[in-house]
Symmetry: C2
Subunit: 424 residues, 2 copies
């Protein structure tokens, strides 16, 4: 990343010294994790570039957008309807939440026994080292788990934080509540931006976001091939960047990558030999730069071919259906989210079906259930998933981890043993 950005960062109120410390370790980590992979697709170069400029060029674009009177709205969750943000010409960005560096700061205002994602996000804001937090006009939080729900109250002391209430069941009253929440968000966005949402702007926004979902679907479909034409790490990186990059440019670049991968599939070319144990990851999300589990799996002789997570299929599998009026469009936007099978719902048996379906479609040899430490909903839901997988005779390994490197040796041992068992 060029040094030219220091003036911009200073203007955004970034703590330059701390930010330097934070960024210092990333290039090496990225290089070690991504650069020397076997037979890496050419088109990954764009995503390497995006990551190298994730605190630079992309932030500059947002600053420029604001100079032109636009707004920047930050969020953390696949339930937040990005379509509405785009419909008022605002930029929607995901927030930094995947690094160990700011966790200690997060722990100054949060209990230690909260998931690292929440501690990291609050820490990023308190440390003033996340340019996205600095550039954002406000944050949209949601009530998907106790940790986030209550952390927004604290975050709101540092940046305006608007909260959407996601219901906890999927009954008629819940759909009504969520539709009302989608409507309330539209009003909020209209007030904040001074722009009215109309049928046309919403149609375009829906098309844009659906298109990104479709290219990600295409990418994931290509991962069903054996040998698989792209590593799990690279695919994860792409899904992670979907939260940050401009949606149209991103979709075009993922399409280019898919063209390349399609050629590979035709030729039977992969990044690992046929017969490499094919792993499905399911559980908690993995925000940038949390590449830990994928990296271990792929260094230990396995390959991740699908993620049933919010940085995986839950992010893009459901499309927003078209509507003939604004109110129908809003209903469809609300409906789409309610089809996501997050562990925050009770019951959430549809997730079992999703996992069994993905196991089939992606020819999975073993499932790694990834749980962010102290993430109660996914952790407790493991009980049901484990039983369903055992009944279907699919090997499963539960891993609970944080963002630190302390558990790397033990994770490596456990994953190695699991892959050996699966590969037999």
């Amino acid at each position: 990343m060029s040094n030219d950005w220091r003036a911009m960062w200073a203007e955004l109120g970034i703590d330059l010294e701390k930010h330097d410390q934070f960024l210092a370790a990333l290039p090496e980590l990225y290089e070690k994790t991504f650069i020397n992979q076997f037979n890496r697709p050419q088109a990954m170069q764009y995503f390497d570039f995006v990551i190298s400029e994730v605190h630079g060029l992309r932030v500059k674009e947002l600053v420029d957008h604001k100079l032109k009177g636009g707004k920047v709205v930050a969020s953390f969750c696949v339930f937040v309807p990005e379509e509405l943000i785009l419909a008022v010409d605002a930029v929607s960005i995901g927030l930094c939440a995947g690094a160990q560096f700011p966790v200690a700061t997060g722990e100054k205002v949060l209990p230690r026994s909260i998931c690292p994602l929440i501690k990291a996000s609050i820490g990023f804001k308190l440390d003033s080292i996340c340019p996205y937090f600095q550039v954002a006009d406000f944050v949209i939080g949601e009530t998907t788990c106790d940790g986030k729900k209550k952390a927004w109250e604290i975050l709101n002391d540092f940046i305006p934080t608007y909260v959407m209430e996601l219901p906890q069941r999927k009954e008629k009253e819940d759909y009504d509540l969520w539709e009302a929440e989608v409507n309330r968000l539209m009003q909020k966005l209209e007030t904040e931006t001074g722009k009215a949402v109309d049928f046309e702007s919403l149609s375009q926004a829906v098309a844009k976001v659906n298109n990104r979902r479709k290219v990600l679907r295409r990418l994931y479909d290509l991962r069903k091939a054996d040998p698989v034409p792209i590593s799990g790490k690279d695919a994860l990186l792409i899904t992670q960047l979907a939260f940050f990059d401009d949606p149209e440019r991103f979709s075009a670049k993922v399409s280019e990558l898919c063209d390349e991968l399609e050629e590979r599939v035709k030729e039977g070319m992969g990044v690992v030999p046929q017969g490499t144990p094919r792993i499905l990851i399911t559980g908690s999300p993995m925000p940038i730069p949390n590449w830990k589990i994928h990296d271990i799996i792929e260094r230990c002789g396995g390959v991740v071919v699908c993620e049933e997570t919010c940085t995986g299929t839950r992010y893009f599998e459901q499309l927003t259906e078209e509507g003939q009026t604004i109110s129908e469009q809003l209903k469809q936007i609300a409906m789409r989210a309610m089809k996501i099978n997050c562990a925050c719902f009770t019951p959430n048996n549809e997730r079992i079906n999703d996992i069994l379906r993905l196991v089939e479609e992606y020819k999975i040899d073993g499932v790694i259930y990834y749980n962010l430490q102290f993430c109660h909903p996914y952790s407790i839901e493991y009980y049901k998933i484990e039983r369903a997988l055992q009944a279907a005779e699919i090997p499963v390994l539960k891993i609970e981890s944080d963002y630190s490197e302390e558990d790397l040796p033990i994770l490596q041992n456990r994953i190695q043993a699991f892959l050996e068992m699966v590969g037999q």
Copy 2:
């Protein structure tokens, strides 16, 4: 407790051997905690008796109730509207959830990093050592926290578990959702019991439950006196037993106790000298036999005069208003619950006001913020409460604990130091 109950326990499917092991330690714990307190009110004898028969006589009453065709409905939470249960002539009971003994069993199906209350309750059912679980026709759970919400899905594999969705904010849509949930529960109870709720039965049930709330209010009002006429331990025990005992008998007995305490207050007689540091406990609930924190405080020279918990003021402060029609009654029942300031709501600033008000009313010298280990909502909410108390110059100590005895020495040290600071 008499041995006569063994046949009844066997019939209820109790694991007699394990149950013996579980009960073995309780008489000594109870005696050590309660019996030799200074100047204990005479009327506590009734509650000593209730506790001594909590797995015996009271269970026999429930068995008899079922023999006459009645139902027994178990629940865990102050949001479950007991009025509706009584209105269909069912018995409402709280469930065992305060002991360390079944935690290890709970951890066989739940992650370790879940609060001990949830692990204990599931463990009680799996171990077959809680006669209330055994006698209950079904359980009513709620979505007040991630841990409970997801644990009900597991519990339902072992006993039918009906779940009420408590919303997470207090806006119009939330009131509507909760009112719909109250209506849905009424239908469920009508189906289960074959009895229709009518205006009269509901009026009587509301009066019965309100009356219990009023006597508990009276008891707590008497704790405002200095010197305080009853120990915190005894008051906690009474609130805990409110979840188990017959409501009318319980109310009568608490009234008798209050008569005695009133005399004491007139005479200026207390259980501790005037000037003893007066402590407010706030935070997570303390189900039987979790008397740990009160016991330490009162052994270290303080006295607990109020609990802002679900085994304290949140259980009884709000009364159900009268309604002129069934639908108005149901609305009022729903409204009452929504006035409880539980950390499951966001925002929950009213709880700050509650605590500051209680500090004033009960002439509090120091606040102990009690957090069950891994209880995220209360743990995170501490941030705001601490700041509010600091601004009001009220000393506050946060304690996170489970049901084990492992942390007793450290808790004792911390509480001792806090009381010395507060007493200066």
